[in-house]
């Protein structure tokens, strides 16, 4: 199981990597913007991508569109402060698997990751 965490905040990447570790997903790559994210998703096979929206160089929503345009079906969860419904709809139309608004409770992100991977969220008890 290999995941990519995309966020311009190093601290948020660490928070998300912590959430992944609770699901025993320890093989995690990191990207700090949409450009890096597209490049890494092109070069690697991921089982899951966690994608911020607002980042320098390339927005997460644009990175998502490029990844989908490549035909990649990897689950992508948007994890963002963009909380407006129009943003959620835009992301889902672009091919996002799910959407998590920051700030979030730890059990929420773990549950959404589990659902995206088709796992049960029994690990929630560890949060």
């Amino acid at each position: 199981m290999k995941a990519l965490v995309v966020d311009d905040s190093m601290v948020m990447r660490k928070v998300l990597i912590g959430a992944l570790s609770r699901l025993n997903i320890g093989d995690v790559d990191q990207a700090a913007d949409g450009v890096e994210a597209v490049a890494m998703a092109t070069q690697n096979q991921y089982n899951l991508i966690l994608m911020d929206w607002n980042m320098p160089n390339k927005l997460g929503i644009d990175a998502l569109k490029e990844i989908r345009a490549q035909g990649q079906t990897v689950p992508v969860i948007m994890v963002t402060t963009e909380a407006e419904k129009m943003r959620v709809v835009e992301a889902l139309k672009a091919g996002a698997t799910n959407y998590v608004v920051k700030p979030f409770e730890p059990k929420v992100i773990v549950s959404k990751i589990s659902a995206a991977l088709g796992q049960t969220a029994e690990e929630e008890c560890a949060v």
Binding site: V11, A83, E84, M86, V101
Partner: protein
Amino acid sequence: MNVQYINPFIESVSELFTTMFQKSATRGNIGTSKSVGENQDVVAMIGITGDVQGSVAVAMSEQTALKVVGSLLGCDIDEFGSDATDGVAEVVNMIAGGAKAKLPSQGLSPLQLSLPTVLRGKDFVVTYPTQSLWLDIPFESELGSFHLRVTLKNAQNN
């Protein structure tokens, strides 16, 4: 500045604490501040543009900043380094993002946020020639005290 604009930011602080930190933050009385950094060591700030323009900031002591970021990461942080800088930037990002989603209910079109900036020092002054008034909302929390500071004005008043 329309004081009603401040409520979404206050709500956003409370939501941040109850979700990410799973703690409470109690706010004090709204006042004003001459400068965004008044009496504080660390300020994380984001610019807002759209129907209203201005900035939102969180200002705190270095000790509080270390506890806040440590709580985010789930570990103790002893020095104000890149993690702390990045963490307080993310804190104001989440506060501004949450408020941004609520502000349209105040009759505003969706707003845009800048990327966050972090300032460090003691009693530094950031001068805003056309926006000299910062609303100041003090908060107390288990992680320490901090201030939410907001300056906004209607764009058509430029």
